[in-house]
Protein backbone atom coordinates (compact mmCIF):
# COMPACT_ATOMS: atom_id res chain seq x y z
CA UNK A 1 0.00 0.00 0.00
CA UNK A 2 1.27 3.42 -0.88
CA UNK A 3 0.37 6.35 1.31
CA UNK A 4 -0.88 9.68 0.08
CA UNK A 5 1.75 11.97 -1.31
CA UNK A 6 2.23 14.67 -3.89
CA UNK A 7 5.26 15.71 -5.85
CA UNK A 8 5.75 19.46 -6.07
CA UNK A 9 7.73 21.06 -8.84
CA UNK A 10 7.20 24.78 -8.26
CA UNK A 11 8.12 26.92 -5.26
CA UNK A 12 6.76 30.21 -4.01
CA UNK A 13 10.03 31.88 -4.95
CA UNK A 14 9.67 30.49 -8.45
CA UNK A 15 6.15 31.89 -8.86
CA UNK A 16 7.46 35.32 -7.92
CA UNK A 17 10.44 34.68 -10.17
CA UNK A 18 8.17 34.04 -13.12
CA UNK A 19 6.24 37.24 -12.54
CA UNK A 20 9.53 39.16 -12.48
CA UNK A 21 10.66 37.43 -15.66
CA UNK A 22 7.35 38.16 -17.42
CA UNK A 23 7.65 41.78 -16.37
CA UNK A 24 11.26 41.96 -17.57
CA UNK A 25 10.24 40.50 -20.92
CA UNK A 26 7.56 43.16 -21.41
CA UNK A 27 9.95 45.94 -20.42
CA UNK A 28 12.73 44.70 -22.69
CA UNK A 29 10.39 44.29 -25.66
CA UNK A 30 9.16 47.85 -25.20
CA UNK A 31 12.64 49.23 -24.51
CA UNK A 32 13.47 50.28 -28.10
CA UNK A 33 10.82 53.01 -27.81
CA UNK A 34 12.92 54.92 -25.31
CA UNK A 35 16.49 53.61 -25.52
CA UNK A 36 19.28 55.20 -27.53
CA UNK A 37 20.91 53.40 -30.44
CA UNK A 38 24.15 52.73 -28.54
CA UNK A 39 22.31 51.21 -25.60
CA UNK A 40 20.29 48.95 -27.88
CA UNK A 41 23.47 47.66 -29.45
CA UNK A 42 24.97 46.95 -26.04
CA UNK A 43 21.86 45.11 -24.93
CA UNK A 44 21.98 43.03 -28.09
CA UNK A 45 25.52 42.07 -27.13
CA UNK A 46 24.30 41.16 -23.65
CA UNK A 47 21.63 38.85 -25.07
CA UNK A 48 24.27 37.15 -27.18
CA UNK A 49 26.52 36.70 -24.12
CA UNK A 50 23.65 35.14 -22.20
CA UNK A 51 23.09 32.67 -25.03
CA UNK A 52 26.78 31.79 -25.14
CA UNK A 53 27.00 31.28 -21.39
CA UNK A 54 23.80 29.24 -21.20
CA UNK A 55 24.89 26.99 -24.03
CA UNK A 56 28.40 26.40 -22.72
CA UNK A 57 26.92 25.68 -19.33
CA UNK A 58 24.51 23.16 -20.83
CA UNK A 59 27.41 21.39 -22.47
CA UNK A 60 30.04 21.54 -19.72
CA UNK A 61 28.03 22.11 -16.57
CA UNK A 62 25.47 19.42 -17.31
CA UNK A 63 26.96 17.18 -19.97
CA UNK A 64 30.46 17.24 -18.47
CA UNK A 65 31.70 18.08 -21.96
CA UNK A 66 34.32 20.79 -21.51
CA UNK A 67 35.02 22.19 -24.95
CA UNK A 68 37.48 24.92 -25.77
CA UNK A 69 36.43 24.93 -29.40
CA UNK A 70 32.89 26.31 -29.25
CA UNK A 71 34.04 29.24 -31.43
CA UNK A 72 33.70 26.67 -34.19
CA UNK A 73 29.92 26.97 -34.05
CA UNK A 74 30.00 30.71 -33.47
CA UNK A 75 32.11 31.14 -36.61
CA UNK A 76 30.07 28.73 -38.67
CA UNK A 77 26.82 30.39 -37.66
CA UNK A 78 28.13 33.68 -38.96
CA UNK A 79 29.70 32.12 -42.03
CA UNK A 80 26.57 30.31 -43.19
CA UNK A 81 24.53 33.44 -42.60
CA UNK A 82 26.82 35.37 -44.98
CA UNK A 83 26.70 32.52 -47.44
CA UNK A 84 22.93 32.12 -47.43
CA UNK A 85 22.35 35.86 -47.60
CA UNK A 86 24.77 36.04 -50.52
CA UNK A 87 22.69 33.35 -52.22
CA UNK A 88 19.67 35.62 -51.94
CA UNK A 89 17.97 34.53 -48.71
CA UNK A 90 16.66 37.29 -46.44
CA UNK A 91 19.45 38.05 -43.92
CA UNK A 92 17.20 37.60 -40.89
CA UNK A 93 15.91 34.27 -42.17
CA UNK A 94 19.53 33.35 -42.93
CA UNK A 95 20.45 33.46 -39.24
CA UNK A 96 17.95 30.75 -38.36
CA UNK A 97 18.74 28.66 -41.43
CA UNK A 98 22.48 28.96 -40.72
CA UNK A 99 22.01 27.77 -37.15
CA UNK A 100 20.03 24.78 -38.39
CA UNK A 101 22.90 23.86 -40.70
CA UNK A 102 25.32 24.23 -37.78
CA UNK A 103 23.11 21.93 -35.71
CA UNK A 104 23.20 19.37 -38.51
CA UNK A 105 26.99 19.54 -38.68
CA UNK A 106 27.19 19.17 -34.89
CA UNK A 107 24.95 16.12 -35.04
CA UNK A 108 27.29 14.51 -37.58
CA UNK A 109 30.37 15.52 -35.54
CA UNK A 110 28.88 14.10 -32.36
CA UNK A 111 29.28 10.56 -33.70
CA UNK A 112 33.03 10.73 -33.35
CA UNK A 113 33.66 13.65 -30.99
CA UNK A 114 31.57 12.17 -28.18
CA UNK A 115 33.75 9.07 -28.23
CA UNK A 116 36.60 11.24 -26.91
CA UNK A 117 37.19 11.67 -23.19
CA UNK A 118 37.96 14.76 -21.11
CA UNK A 119 41.04 16.53 -22.39
CA UNK A 120 40.94 14.81 -25.76
CA UNK A 121 37.48 16.18 -26.37
CA UNK A 122 38.43 19.69 -25.22
CA UNK A 123 41.50 19.90 -27.44
CA UNK A 124 39.85 17.97 -30.26
CA UNK A 125 37.15 20.62 -30.46
CA UNK A 126 39.78 23.33 -30.66
CA UNK A 127 41.63 21.52 -33.44
CA UNK A 128 38.39 21.11 -35.40
CA UNK A 129 37.65 24.76 -34.90
CA UNK A 130 41.04 25.78 -36.29
CA UNK A 131 40.60 23.44 -39.25
CA UNK A 132 37.18 24.84 -40.01
CA UNK A 133 38.57 28.35 -39.77
CA UNK A 134 41.15 27.47 -42.44
CA UNK A 135 38.51 25.88 -44.66
CA UNK A 136 36.28 28.93 -44.39
CA UNK A 137 39.23 31.09 -45.37
CA UNK A 138 39.42 29.15 -48.64
CA UNK A 139 35.94 30.28 -49.66
CA UNK A 140 36.22 32.75 -52.54
CA UNK A 141 33.42 34.83 -51.06
CA UNK A 142 35.37 35.24 -47.82
CA UNK A 143 38.76 35.79 -49.48
CA UNK A 144 40.88 34.59 -46.60
CA UNK A 145 41.25 37.03 -43.74
CA UNK A 146 40.00 39.93 -45.83
CA UNK A 147 36.53 38.79 -45.03
CA UNK A 148 33.25 39.99 -46.38
CA UNK A 149 30.11 41.62 -45.06
CA UNK A 150 26.40 41.11 -44.83
CA UNK A 151 25.60 43.61 -47.59
CA UNK A 152 21.99 42.61 -47.93
CA UNK A 153 21.38 44.29 -44.56
CA UNK A 154 21.97 47.63 -46.26
CA UNK A 155 18.48 47.66 -47.75
CA UNK A 156 17.07 48.34 -44.29
CA UNK A 157 17.00 51.74 -42.65
CA UNK A 158 19.74 51.64 -39.95
CA UNK A 159 17.43 52.59 -37.07
CA UNK A 160 14.77 50.03 -37.93
CA UNK A 161 17.45 47.46 -38.56
CA UNK A 162 18.96 48.03 -35.13
CA UNK A 163 15.58 47.53 -33.48
CA UNK A 164 14.85 44.45 -35.56
CA UNK A 165 18.18 42.87 -34.59
CA UNK A 166 17.63 43.78 -30.96
CA UNK A 167 14.20 42.15 -30.97
CA UNK A 168 15.42 39.13 -32.88
CA UNK A 169 18.32 38.60 -30.46
CA UNK A 170 16.01 39.04 -27.50
CA UNK A 171 13.40 36.67 -28.93
CA UNK A 172 16.01 34.03 -29.71
CA UNK A 173 17.59 34.35 -26.28
CA UNK A 174 14.23 33.90 -24.55
CA UNK A 175 13.37 30.96 -26.81
CA UNK A 176 16.73 29.27 -26.23
CA UNK A 177 16.58 29.73 -22.47
CA UNK A 178 12.99 28.52 -22.49
CA UNK A 179 13.92 25.44 -24.49
CA UNK A 180 16.85 24.66 -22.20
CA UNK A 181 14.69 25.13 -19.13
CA UNK A 182 11.97 22.87 -20.54
CA UNK A 183 14.62 20.27 -21.36
CA UNK A 184 16.00 20.38 -17.82
CA UNK A 185 12.53 19.95 -16.33
CA UNK A 186 11.72 17.01 -18.59
CA UNK A 187 12.62 13.35 -18.18
CA UNK A 188 15.84 14.06 -20.07
CA UNK A 189 16.61 16.79 -17.54
CA UNK A 190 16.80 14.25 -14.73
CA UNK A 191 19.18 12.22 -16.89
CA UNK A 192 21.25 15.30 -17.70
CA UNK A 193 21.74 16.15 -14.03
CA UNK A 194 22.54 12.54 -13.22
CA UNK A 195 25.25 12.54 -15.89
CA UNK A 196 26.60 15.80 -14.51
CA UNK A 197 26.92 14.18 -11.09
CA UNK A 198 28.08 10.68 -11.97
CA UNK A 199 28.25 9.13 -15.38
CA UNK A 200 28.91 5.55 -14.24
CA UNK A 201 25.95 5.57 -11.88
CA UNK A 202 23.79 7.17 -14.56
CA UNK A 203 24.38 4.31 -17.00
CA UNK A 204 23.81 1.80 -14.21
CA UNK A 205 20.29 3.06 -13.68
CA UNK A 206 19.43 3.03 -17.36
CA UNK A 207 20.37 6.50 -18.59
CA UNK A 208 21.46 6.49 -22.22
CA UNK A 209 24.50 8.69 -21.71
CA UNK A 210 25.52 9.01 -25.34
CA UNK A 211 22.06 10.01 -26.53
CA UNK A 212 21.69 12.54 -23.72
CA UNK A 213 25.07 14.07 -24.43
CA UNK A 214 24.21 14.27 -28.10
CA UNK A 215 21.10 16.31 -27.31
CA UNK A 216 23.23 18.76 -25.34
CA UNK A 217 26.00 18.90 -27.92
CA UNK A 218 23.61 19.67 -30.77
CA UNK A 219 21.58 22.15 -28.72
CA UNK A 220 24.76 23.99 -27.68
CA UNK A 221 25.99 24.12 -31.29
CA UNK A 222 22.62 25.42 -32.46
CA UNK A 223 22.49 28.12 -29.79
CA UNK A 224 26.08 29.23 -30.30
CA UNK A 225 25.53 29.17 -34.07
CA UNK A 226 22.59 31.54 -33.58
CA UNK A 227 24.75 33.74 -31.37
CA UNK A 228 27.40 33.96 -34.10
CA UNK A 229 24.79 34.74 -36.72
CA UNK A 230 23.29 37.49 -34.57
CA UNK A 231 26.70 38.95 -33.80
CA UNK A 232 27.26 39.19 -37.54
CA UNK A 233 23.88 40.89 -38.06
CA UNK A 234 24.88 43.52 -35.59
CA UNK A 235 28.54 43.90 -36.65
CA UNK A 236 27.89 43.40 -40.38
CA UNK A 237 31.48 42.50 -41.25
CA UNK A 238 32.66 38.92 -41.32
CA UNK A 239 36.36 38.40 -40.75
CA UNK A 240 37.00 34.73 -40.00
CA UNK A 241 39.63 35.30 -37.33
CA UNK A 242 37.30 37.48 -35.29
CA UNK A 243 34.63 34.82 -35.23
CA UNK A 244 36.77 31.71 -34.99
CA UNK A 245 38.73 33.18 -32.09
CA UNK A 246 39.23 31.11 -28.96
CA UNK A 247 38.45 34.31 -27.06
CA UNK A 248 34.72 33.50 -27.45
CA UNK A 249 35.12 30.25 -25.62
CA UNK A 250 37.26 31.95 -22.98
CA UNK A 251 34.38 34.38 -22.37
CA UNK A 252 31.92 31.49 -22.12
CA UNK A 253 34.10 29.72 -19.57
CA UNK A 254 34.53 32.91 -17.56
CA UNK A 255 30.80 33.63 -17.46
CA UNK A 256 29.88 30.10 -16.44
CA UNK A 257 32.57 29.66 -13.79
CA UNK A 258 31.86 32.99 -12.17
CA UNK A 259 28.09 32.63 -12.36
CA UNK A 260 27.94 29.02 -11.21
CA UNK A 261 28.62 25.99 -13.32
CA UNK A 262 25.81 23.49 -13.70
CA UNK A 263 23.23 26.04 -12.53
CA UNK A 264 20.67 27.41 -14.94
CA UNK A 265 20.54 30.79 -13.19
CA UNK A 266 24.33 30.85 -12.80
CA UNK A 267 25.10 31.19 -16.48
CA UNK A 268 22.71 34.13 -16.83
CA UNK A 269 24.19 35.83 -13.82
CA UNK A 270 27.72 35.24 -15.13
CA UNK A 271 26.80 36.84 -18.45
CA UNK A 272 25.39 39.88 -16.65
CA UNK A 273 28.56 40.23 -14.62
CA UNK A 274 30.82 39.81 -17.63
CA UNK A 275 28.77 42.38 -19.51
CA UNK A 276 29.06 44.85 -16.65
CA UNK A 277 32.81 44.40 -16.37
CA UNK A 278 33.18 44.82 -20.11
CA UNK A 279 31.01 47.92 -20.14
CA UNK A 280 33.03 49.60 -17.37
CA UNK A 281 36.52 48.39 -18.05
CA UNK A 282 36.42 47.21 -21.67
CA UNK A 283 38.26 50.36 -22.76
CA UNK A 284 41.27 49.74 -20.53
CA UNK A 285 42.93 47.28 -22.91
CA UNK A 286 45.24 44.78 -21.37
CA UNK A 287 44.19 45.66 -17.80
CA UNK A 288 40.71 44.54 -18.68
CA UNK A 289 41.97 41.09 -19.63
CA UNK A 290 44.14 40.87 -16.51
CA UNK A 291 41.11 41.87 -14.44
CA UNK A 292 39.01 39.14 -16.03
CA UNK A 293 41.72 36.59 -15.32
CA UNK A 294 42.02 37.73 -11.70
CA UNK A 295 38.28 37.59 -11.21
CA UNK A 296 38.22 34.05 -12.57
CA UNK A 297 40.98 33.00 -10.16
CA UNK A 298 39.34 34.67 -7.17
CA UNK A 299 36.02 33.04 -7.95
CA UNK A 300 37.37 29.57 -8.46
CA UNK A 301 39.26 29.84 -5.15
CA UNK A 302 36.58 31.39 -2.96
CA UNK A 303 33.29 30.60 -4.70
CA UNK A 304 33.86 27.25 -6.40
CA UNK A 305 30.14 26.99 -7.05
CA UNK A 306 29.99 30.49 -8.52
CA UNK A 307 27.85 33.39 -7.44
CA UNK A 308 24.58 31.58 -7.90
CA UNK A 309 25.87 28.50 -6.11
CA UNK A 310 26.80 30.70 -3.13
CA UNK A 311 23.41 32.42 -3.14
CA UNK A 312 21.57 29.13 -3.36
CA UNK A 313 23.57 27.66 -0.49
CA UNK A 314 23.23 30.73 1.69
CA UNK A 315 19.55 31.49 1.19
CA UNK A 316 18.22 28.15 0.02
CA UNK A 317 16.23 29.71 -2.80
CA UNK A 318 15.66 28.46 -6.31
CA UNK A 319 14.07 30.83 -8.78
CA UNK A 320 13.79 28.41 -11.64
CA UNK A 321 13.32 25.00 -10.07
CA UNK A 322 13.92 21.88 -12.10
CA UNK A 323 13.65 19.43 -9.21
CA UNK A 324 11.03 17.28 -7.54
CA UNK A 325 9.85 17.70 -3.95
CA UNK A 326 8.08 14.91 -2.15
CA UNK A 327 5.31 15.99 0.19
CA UNK A 328 3.67 13.34 2.31
CA UNK A 329 0.07 14.15 3.17
CA UNK A 330 -1.10 13.42 6.70
CA UNK A 331 2.27 12.06 7.90
CA UNK A 332 3.73 8.60 7.41
CA UNK A 333 1.56 5.54 7.85
Amino acid sequence: MTGAFVVERWTTASRIGFLVIAFAIVVLVAAPIVLKAGTLDRLTALFIYVMLAAMWNALAGYGGLVSIGQQLFFGLGAYFTVRLADAGLNPFASTIAAALIVAGIAWAMSHFMLQLRGGEFAIGMWVLSELTHLLVNLDRLVQGETGTSLISMNVYDPDNRRIAIYLLAFGIMVALLGALYALLRSKSGAAIQAIRDNEVAATSVGVDVLKTKRILFVLAAFGIGLAGALWLCSALTFQPKTYFSVQWTAYMIFMVLVGGIGKFEGAILGALLFFTIETWFGGTGVWYLIGLGLAAVVFSLFFPKGIWGAIEQRFGITLLPIGYRLKIIGGAE
Binding site: A190, A191, A201, V205, G206, D208
Partner: protein, 242 residues
Amino acid sequence: MAPTVLGAKQVSKRFGALAVLDRVDFHVQEGEAIGIVGPNGAGKTTLMNVLSGTLTPSDGHVELLGEDVTASSAADRCHRGLSKTHQIPLPFLGMTVFENIYVAASHGAALTGEAGYELTYESLKLCGMLAIANRKAETIGLLDRKRLELARALATRPKILLLDEIGGGLTDAETSELVETIRELRRRGISIVWIEHIVHVLLQVVERLICMDAGRIIADGEPIAVMKDKAVVEAYLGRTPE
Protein backbone atom coordinates in the same frame (compact mmCIF):
# COMPACT_ATOMS: atom_id res chain seq x y z
CA MET B 1 15.23 -26.64 -13.67
CA ALA B 2 14.46 -22.93 -13.86
CA PRO B 3 15.91 -21.14 -16.90
CA THR B 4 19.27 -19.38 -16.69
CA VAL B 5 18.72 -15.63 -16.52
CA LEU B 6 22.32 -14.40 -16.27
CA GLY B 7 25.58 -16.02 -17.19
CA ALA B 8 29.29 -15.40 -17.55
CA LYS B 9 31.02 -17.73 -20.00
CA GLN B 10 34.78 -18.09 -19.74
CA VAL B 11 35.05 -14.46 -18.71
CA SER B 12 38.51 -12.97 -18.15
CA LYS B 13 39.40 -9.45 -17.21
CA ARG B 14 42.90 -8.03 -17.26
CA PHE B 15 44.05 -4.58 -16.22
CA GLY B 16 47.34 -4.28 -18.10
CA ALA B 17 49.38 -7.27 -16.92
CA LEU B 18 47.16 -7.91 -13.90
CA ALA B 19 44.66 -10.73 -14.47
CA VAL B 20 41.73 -10.01 -12.17
CA LEU B 21 39.28 -12.56 -13.60
CA ASP B 22 40.53 -15.82 -15.04
CA ARG B 23 38.07 -17.75 -17.28
CA VAL B 24 35.15 -17.49 -14.88
CA ASP B 25 31.96 -19.45 -15.55
CA PHE B 26 28.99 -18.30 -13.53
CA HIS B 27 25.26 -18.80 -14.00
CA VAL B 28 22.19 -17.56 -12.23
CA GLN B 29 18.87 -19.38 -12.44
CA GLU B 30 15.53 -17.60 -12.35
CA GLY B 31 14.46 -16.77 -8.80
CA GLU B 32 17.74 -17.93 -7.30
CA ALA B 33 19.59 -16.11 -4.51
CA ILE B 34 23.36 -16.53 -4.61
CA GLY B 35 25.93 -15.23 -2.17
CA ILE B 36 29.49 -14.44 -3.20
CA VAL B 37 32.34 -14.38 -0.70
CA GLY B 38 36.09 -14.24 -1.07
CA PRO B 39 39.09 -12.37 0.32
CA ASN B 40 39.79 -8.75 -0.58
CA GLY B 41 40.92 -8.36 -4.16
CA ALA B 42 39.51 -11.74 -5.22
CA GLY B 43 37.69 -10.15 -8.17
CA LYS B 44 34.12 -10.18 -6.85
CA THR B 45 33.34 -6.57 -7.72
CA THR B 46 35.06 -6.93 -11.07
CA LEU B 47 32.86 -9.93 -11.90
CA MET B 48 29.80 -7.90 -11.03
CA ASN B 49 30.99 -4.99 -13.16
CA VAL B 50 31.54 -7.27 -16.12
CA LEU B 51 28.07 -8.77 -15.65
CA SER B 52 26.41 -5.37 -15.38
CA GLY B 53 28.27 -3.80 -18.30
CA THR B 54 30.27 -1.26 -16.30
CA LEU B 55 33.38 -3.08 -17.54
CA THR B 56 33.89 -5.00 -20.78
CA PRO B 57 35.60 -8.36 -20.37
CA SER B 58 38.98 -8.97 -21.99
CA ASP B 59 37.70 -12.39 -23.05
CA GLY B 60 34.51 -14.38 -22.83
CA HIS B 61 30.79 -13.63 -23.05
CA VAL B 62 27.98 -12.38 -20.88
CA GLU B 63 24.44 -13.62 -21.44
CA LEU B 64 21.33 -11.99 -20.08
CA LEU B 65 17.88 -13.59 -20.41
CA GLY B 66 19.04 -15.75 -23.25
CA GLU B 67 20.85 -13.08 -25.26
CA ASP B 68 24.52 -12.25 -25.66
CA VAL B 69 24.95 -8.79 -24.16
CA THR B 70 28.76 -8.70 -24.03
CA ALA B 71 28.84 -5.64 -26.29
CA SER B 72 25.88 -3.78 -24.86
CA SER B 73 26.03 -0.91 -22.40
CA ALA B 74 25.11 -0.99 -18.74
CA ALA B 75 22.08 1.15 -19.57
CA ASP B 76 20.89 -1.36 -22.14
CA ARG B 77 21.31 -4.26 -19.68
CA CYS B 78 19.42 -2.23 -17.12
CA HIS B 79 16.50 -1.84 -19.53
CA ARG B 80 16.52 -5.60 -20.03
CA GLY B 81 16.13 -6.12 -16.29
CA LEU B 82 19.59 -6.24 -14.70
CA SER B 83 20.43 -3.80 -11.96
CA LYS B 84 23.20 -3.41 -9.40
CA THR B 85 24.39 -1.43 -6.43
CA HIS B 86 27.91 0.00 -6.38
CA GLN B 87 30.29 -1.13 -3.65
CA ILE B 88 31.45 2.45 -3.20
CA PRO B 89 28.15 4.32 -3.36
CA LEU B 90 27.84 6.66 -6.32
CA PRO B 91 24.96 8.99 -5.48
CA PHE B 92 24.02 11.89 -7.74
CA LEU B 93 25.32 14.38 -5.20
CA GLY B 94 23.64 17.49 -6.57
CA MET B 95 20.20 15.91 -6.59
CA THR B 96 17.87 15.03 -3.73
CA VAL B 97 17.34 11.45 -2.57
CA PHE B 98 13.93 11.45 -4.25
CA GLU B 99 15.41 12.75 -7.51
CA ASN B 100 18.20 10.18 -7.40
CA ILE B 101 15.62 7.43 -7.36
CA TYR B 102 13.34 9.14 -9.86
CA VAL B 103 16.17 9.04 -12.42
CA ALA B 104 16.15 5.26 -12.08
CA ALA B 105 12.35 5.03 -12.26
CA SER B 106 12.06 7.32 -15.28
CA HIS B 107 14.95 5.82 -17.22
CA GLY B 108 15.60 2.32 -15.95
CA ALA B 109 11.92 1.44 -15.60
CA ALA B 110 10.78 4.04 -18.17
CA LEU B 111 7.97 5.23 -15.90
CA THR B 112 7.48 8.99 -15.88
CA GLY B 113 5.00 11.32 -14.24
CA GLU B 114 2.67 9.86 -11.62
CA ALA B 115 3.65 6.25 -12.36
CA GLY B 116 7.30 7.18 -11.94
CA TYR B 117 6.54 9.02 -8.69
CA GLU B 118 4.66 5.98 -7.36
CA LEU B 119 7.58 3.70 -8.08
CA THR B 120 10.02 6.16 -6.55
CA TYR B 121 7.87 6.47 -3.46
CA GLU B 122 7.57 2.74 -3.11
CA SER B 123 11.35 2.21 -3.41
CA LEU B 124 11.97 4.96 -0.87
CA LYS B 125 9.55 3.36 1.53
CA LEU B 126 10.89 -0.15 1.11
CA CYS B 127 14.39 1.10 1.95
CA GLY B 128 13.20 3.27 4.83
CA MET B 129 14.23 6.56 3.26
CA LEU B 130 10.97 8.52 3.18
CA ALA B 131 12.11 10.81 5.98
CA ILE B 132 15.12 12.04 4.04
CA ALA B 133 13.51 12.07 0.58
CA ASN B 134 14.10 15.78 0.06
CA ARG B 135 17.66 15.93 1.37
CA LYS B 136 20.45 16.62 -1.12
CA ALA B 137 22.41 13.40 -1.55
CA GLU B 138 25.65 15.23 -0.71
CA THR B 139 24.38 15.74 2.83
CA ILE B 140 23.64 12.10 3.68
CA GLY B 141 26.02 9.65 5.38
CA LEU B 142 27.53 6.40 4.18
CA LEU B 143 24.79 4.11 5.48
CA ASP B 144 22.09 6.17 3.82
CA ARG B 145 24.15 6.25 0.65
CA LYS B 146 24.16 2.46 0.65
CA ARG B 147 20.40 2.43 1.19
CA LEU B 148 20.13 4.87 -1.68
CA GLU B 149 22.08 2.48 -3.89
CA LEU B 150 19.55 -0.23 -3.12
CA ALA B 151 16.52 2.02 -3.55
CA ARG B 152 17.84 3.31 -6.87
CA ALA B 153 18.56 -0.18 -8.16
CA LEU B 154 15.05 -1.27 -7.15
CA ALA B 155 13.42 1.64 -8.92
CA THR B 156 14.67 0.28 -12.23
CA ARG B 157 12.31 -2.70 -11.68
CA PRO B 158 15.00 -5.38 -12.01
CA LYS B 159 14.47 -9.05 -12.72
CA ILE B 160 18.00 -9.70 -11.52
CA LEU B 161 19.63 -7.66 -8.79
CA LEU B 162 23.36 -7.57 -8.07
CA LEU B 163 24.25 -6.34 -4.58
CA ASP B 164 27.81 -5.40 -3.65
CA GLU B 165 28.47 -5.10 0.08
CA ILE B 166 25.37 -3.22 1.11
CA GLY B 167 25.30 -4.76 4.60
CA GLY B 168 28.62 -3.66 6.08
CA GLY B 169 28.59 -1.40 9.14
CA LEU B 170 24.95 -1.99 10.06
CA THR B 171 23.68 -2.58 13.59
CA ASP B 172 21.97 -5.90 14.33
CA ALA B 173 18.53 -4.33 14.04
CA GLU B 174 19.43 -2.70 10.73
CA THR B 175 20.86 -5.96 9.47
CA SER B 176 17.66 -7.87 10.16
CA GLU B 177 15.71 -5.11 8.43
CA LEU B 178 17.94 -5.45 5.39
CA VAL B 179 17.59 -9.24 5.39
CA GLU B 180 13.81 -8.82 5.56
CA THR B 181 13.89 -6.41 2.61
CA ILE B 182 15.95 -8.78 0.49
CA ARG B 183 13.63 -11.66 1.36
CA GLU B 184 10.70 -9.53 0.24
CA LEU B 185 12.47 -8.96 -3.09
CA ARG B 186 12.91 -12.71 -3.47
CA ARG B 187 9.21 -13.19 -2.87
CA ARG B 188 8.60 -10.81 -5.75
CA GLY B 189 10.56 -13.18 -7.95
CA ILE B 190 13.74 -11.14 -8.30
CA SER B 191 16.91 -13.19 -8.71
CA ILE B 192 19.66 -12.00 -6.39
CA VAL B 193 23.43 -12.11 -6.40
CA TRP B 194 24.85 -10.70 -3.21
CA ILE B 195 28.50 -10.06 -2.37
CA GLU B 196 29.06 -9.76 1.36
CA HIS B 197 31.91 -10.47 3.76
CA ILE B 198 29.56 -11.20 6.65
CA VAL B 199 28.64 -14.77 5.85
CA HIS B 200 26.05 -15.30 8.57
CA VAL B 201 23.98 -12.49 7.06
CA LEU B 202 24.21 -14.01 3.62
CA LEU B 203 23.16 -17.39 4.95
CA GLN B 204 19.84 -15.97 6.08
CA VAL B 205 18.90 -15.28 2.47
CA VAL B 206 20.86 -17.30 -0.07
CA GLU B 207 20.57 -20.97 -0.99
CA ARG B 208 23.77 -21.09 -2.95
CA LEU B 209 27.20 -19.73 -2.06
CA ILE B 210 30.18 -19.03 -4.26
CA CYS B 211 33.70 -18.37 -3.09
CA MET B 212 36.18 -16.51 -5.26
CA ASP B 213 39.91 -16.25 -4.86
CA ALA B 214 42.52 -14.70 -7.16
CA GLY B 215 40.12 -14.26 -10.05
CA ARG B 216 38.60 -17.73 -9.96
CA ILE B 217 35.58 -19.44 -8.49
CA ILE B 218 37.07 -21.95 -6.08
CA ALA B 219 33.85 -23.31 -4.62
CA ASP B 220 30.20 -23.21 -5.61
CA GLY B 221 27.24 -24.97 -4.01
CA GLU B 222 25.26 -25.44 -0.84
CA PRO B 223 26.41 -22.69 1.60
CA ILE B 224 27.42 -24.83 4.57
CA ALA B 225 29.36 -27.21 2.35
CA VAL B 226 31.13 -24.30 0.67
CA MET B 227 32.15 -22.82 4.00
CA LYS B 228 33.70 -26.13 5.03
CA ASP B 229 35.47 -26.62 1.70
CA LYS B 230 39.24 -27.04 2.12
CA ALA B 231 40.13 -24.54 -0.63
CA VAL B 232 37.82 -21.97 0.91
CA VAL B 233 39.29 -22.36 4.37
CA GLU B 234 42.77 -22.01 2.92
CA ALA B 235 41.85 -18.93 0.90
CA TYR B 236 40.70 -17.25 4.09
CA LEU B 237 43.47 -18.41 6.37
CA GLY B 238 46.28 -17.96 3.88
CA ARG B 239 47.75 -20.93 2.10
CA THR B 240 49.20 -23.68 4.27
CA PRO B 241 52.38 -25.31 2.97
CA GLU B 242 51.89 -28.86 1.68
